[in-house]
């Protein structure tokens, strides 16, 4: 299955979350969404977002000042 990618670099709270929510709606159940962001607050925010929306945060990593999150759509 292909992974959808959302580039949220340069965007600040709450835009990465709002855009991720929208992008997830285009991902089929079981599909993956990769998000790139530069907002340091996004690390905790995506953990909380996934917990609240019952999606799975498969990966959360950092390269330089870019954070990468992979979310698996559960429902």
């Amino acid at each position: 299955m292909t992974t959808a990618v959302l580039d949220a670099k340069g965007l600040n709270c709450p835009l990465p979350i709002l855009k991720a929510k929208k992008a997830l709606q285009g991902v089929p159940a079981g599909g993956l969404l990769e998000i790139l962001a530069t907002d340091p607050g996004a690390v905790k925010d995506f953990e909380a977002f996934c917990r609240a929306t019952r999606n799975e945060l498969v990966a959360s990593s950092q390269e330089g000042n870019v954070f990468k999150f992979v979310i698996k759509r559960i429902k």
Binding site: G10, N12, P14, L15, I17, L18, A20, F49, A52, T53
Partner: protein
């Protein structure tokens, strides 16, 4: 045989079982019911437009049911055109006054301008607003129209206070058509009572 001791025994049994089962049942019910939030938005300036719209759009992204009640100056946030929203540094000692352009050392200066000067310069609010909007843009922070659209798209209930619409001489046609209804405190309060989170901003 006396019935009273049996009842007491039964009551005791029920009470003990309830204590065991109730927390689990309540947790199940809580899981099933989506979280909800109501916000009273009372301010009509560019800076104060942010908290209600950020919280509402984010809550909607978390699948919460959200209703926003716009009253007094908060009605400004429902007008079709939002470009008139301004921020005022006058009498606002918490607002840093920094320039959104130039070299880093220049951007770092906090311009401590006395109130009496701010009040005396015509157009000072407009200038501060232009600088604030540039800073917002530079930092990748959403604009107010963008956040309001996100709320509308996510199905946030936008509710206008009818009394303040009359008070300030607005017409329903002045506001965006997505405003669901114009009501009073008696309609809002029961909604707030049922909500998990209720905020006055």
């Amino acid at each position: 045989m006396d019935a009273a001791p049996d009842t007491a025994l039964l009551d005791d049994l029920i009470k003990r079982r309830l204590d065991e089962l109730l927390p689990q049942k309540l947790a199940e019910l809580r899981e099933k019911k989506p979280a909800s939030m109501t916000i009273i938005a009372t301010k009509g300036t560019l800076d104060w437009a942010y908290p209600p719209f950020i919280l509402a759009s984010t809550a909607a992204a978390l699948d919460w049911n959200v209703s926003m009640f716009f009253t007094f100056y908060g009605l400004q946030l429902l007008l079709k055109d939002l470009s008139h929203l301004k921020v005022s540094p006058l009498g606002n000692p918490g607002m840093p006054m920094k320039m959104p352009f130039g070299p880093d050392w220049f951007r770092g200066i906090n311009w401590n301008i006395p109130n009496v000067i701010e009040a005396g310069i015509p157009g000072f609010e407009s200038l501060a607003t232009v600088l604030m909007k540039q800073t917002i843009h530079n930092k990748g922070v959403a604009s107010i129209p963008e956040l309001r659209s996100a709320c509308v798209e996510a199905g946030v209930n936008l509710i206008g206070c009818q009394m303040t619409v009359d008070l300030f001489g607005f017409k329903h046609d002045d506001f965006i058509p997505e405003v669901k209804e114009y009501v009073g405190a008696a309609t809002f309060l029961p909604m707030a009572r049922d909500a998990d989170v209720s905020l006055f901003i």
